[in-house]
Symmetry: C2
Subunit: 318 residues, 2 copies
């Protein structure tokens, strides 16, 4: 297939692009390099079936021209900064909601009608049901990030009903692995590299979170697309386990061989809108024959080693 990957130079997008190329598909990566990295696409650029377009999803003309002629759009570009959303409330609206609308309109104009979308477990807000299934009680949004991803899901399903699109929406837990560029393992490794004796932890360290290894994530998306080639689907994507922030710190410090003093900012949440417990029910995705290969601890370990081998990622200005 001819795949169009937004955020194609980012962590998950570039990993997906590599997998698609390896599977014999043609790939167009579209990225504005706001968080994407040239290093992540360097190898692909040599591949005859790969094309990179530098562009922004808010540039409708450029996007429209670029999308035309593809079979499926993997829409992974997003502002993924949940934590600082309140400091710049317009960002989630622009980069998630409006950007997704632009992607959908470009697809409609170019008669491209299949979209795979990276949503988030954050749209469950602070759920009452654990593990949280896709059809849990109608949630209340607690972050601008979650609210914007929910808005995107709504647009995608309305396009499926109204214009005959097919959509695959994946509600991710935090994704880990090679090319990981932001989030909580990143912050800890960065802190400990600068000062191995001290680690500041947001909240009380007891927040329970789920993670998934990026290759497992990419495999799930491709499998769902293959097994259910038409319609509208929503899948949770995570592992059948969770770890506390403190447990995650233990894995990281062990890999790094450091024993820092831990300082907690306190409180049940790391920041306003942080969900103290994320644990998704992934039975629906598993019923298609998928199972993650890496457990959470192994994914954290691998991610830590990757970051230590690629300190330029930690040092870059974000």
């Amino acid at each position: 297939m001819r795949a169009f990957v937004t955020g194609g130079a980012g962590f998950i997008g570039s990993t997906l692009a590599d997998r698609l190329l390896a599977g014999g598909h043609r790939v167009t990566a579209f990225d504005n390099f706001s968080s994407g990295q040239r290093d992540f696409v360097a190898q692909s650029l040599a591949h005859p079936d790969y094309q990179l377009i530098e562009g922004d999803l808010l540039d409708k003309d450029r996007l429209r021209e670029a999308v035309r002629g593809h079979d499926v759009v993997f829409h992974l570009a997003a502002n993924a900064d949940v934590r600082h959303g309140l400091e710049h409330p317009r960002r989630d609206l622009d980069q998630n909601t409006i950007a997704t609308f632009n992607v959908l309109e470009s697809m409609r104009e170019g008669s491209v009608r299949r979209i795979v979308f990276s949503s988030t477990g954050s749209i469950y807000g602070e759920p009452d049901v654990f593990p949280t299934p896709e059809d849990c009680p109608f949630p209340v949004q607690t972050s601008l990030y979650g609210a914007s991803k929910l808005a995107c899901e709504g647009l995608i399903s309305a396009y499926c009903t109204g214009y005959g699109f097919s959509g695959w929406v994946f509600r991710f837990v935090s994704i880990l692995g090679e090319r990981y560029t932001h989030g909580h393992v990143f912050d800890f490794v960065k802190q400990l590299r600068a000062d191995p004796a001290n680690l500041k932890i947001l909240g009380d360290g007891k927040q329970r979170k789920s993670y998934l290894y990026v290759q497992d994530c990419v495999e799930a998306m491709l499998l769902a697309l293959e097994k259910q080639p038409q319609g509208y689907y929503v899948f949770n994507l995570g592992t059948d386990e969770y770890v506390s922030v403190n447990e995650s710190v233990s894995v990281i410090t062990k890999v790094m061989g450091v024993r820092p003093d831990l300082a907690y900012t306190g409180g049940e949440r790391g920041w306003i809108g942080d969900s103290p417990f994320i644990f998704l029910d992934c039975a629906k995705m598993r019923s298609l024959g998928w199972a993650p290969r890496l457990r959470i601890a192994a994914a954290i370990e691998r991610t830590t080693r990757y970051l230590l081998l690629n300190p330029w990622l930690l040092d870059r200005r974000s």
Copy 2:
């Protein structure tokens, strides 16, 4: 209180403004007159506690200046055209999602932190549970209108969590009554006035819909605000009954004294994204002591009589 009413010259907004003035409150109505009517505000303009500002919610500067100094915003302005959403997909994004973001940002900048919002039962898509409660299983959006209202709800709740706002979200069924300007009773009366012998009905006429009388709607909003003065709340607003489109036609034709031939376009739905059955569980709102005074048939009857007495509304270019 000093109330700011967006869509203040519209059907529900102007009715609410009248009630607020009658209750001794000060009212600023903000309207771009895209569907609002000068006739609806003519009387209020003479009231010393009433101010009308002609402006558009996409004009951020004007809005920011206007919102400042109020205690509560009743955000009722919206593109409410569910049926033709697919013909102009940008409209719901602009007039609902982005307009609501602008309202919230203006409030934040002006330190106004209470918002009452008119959402819709359409955000339940095609639910499996009837009557549908507020916490029904996480729905799939089937219309751009529903998707945009869901996006607004998400923004409002995120502002409540993140910036200490309070929010009252009301998921309306179709509202009927004096000043009613669009929707299915409007279409039928308009058709029958032009040709009493023929009526075209979208779908098979068996769609089951709920309606609520506008004064009952306004009363519910004011009561909820009074009883639960802080926090984030979601309430369904409707009656404990529904009628089929055919039953609604019977009431209208009886009031008008006509016996038209009925022609059906066929199919379970009136248009793509039309929900064949809308019936909301309003126990939560009723638990605050509210109950609608008019039953659906009486509301349809009253609306029909109102339209017949105000043919200029039927004749206006929309």
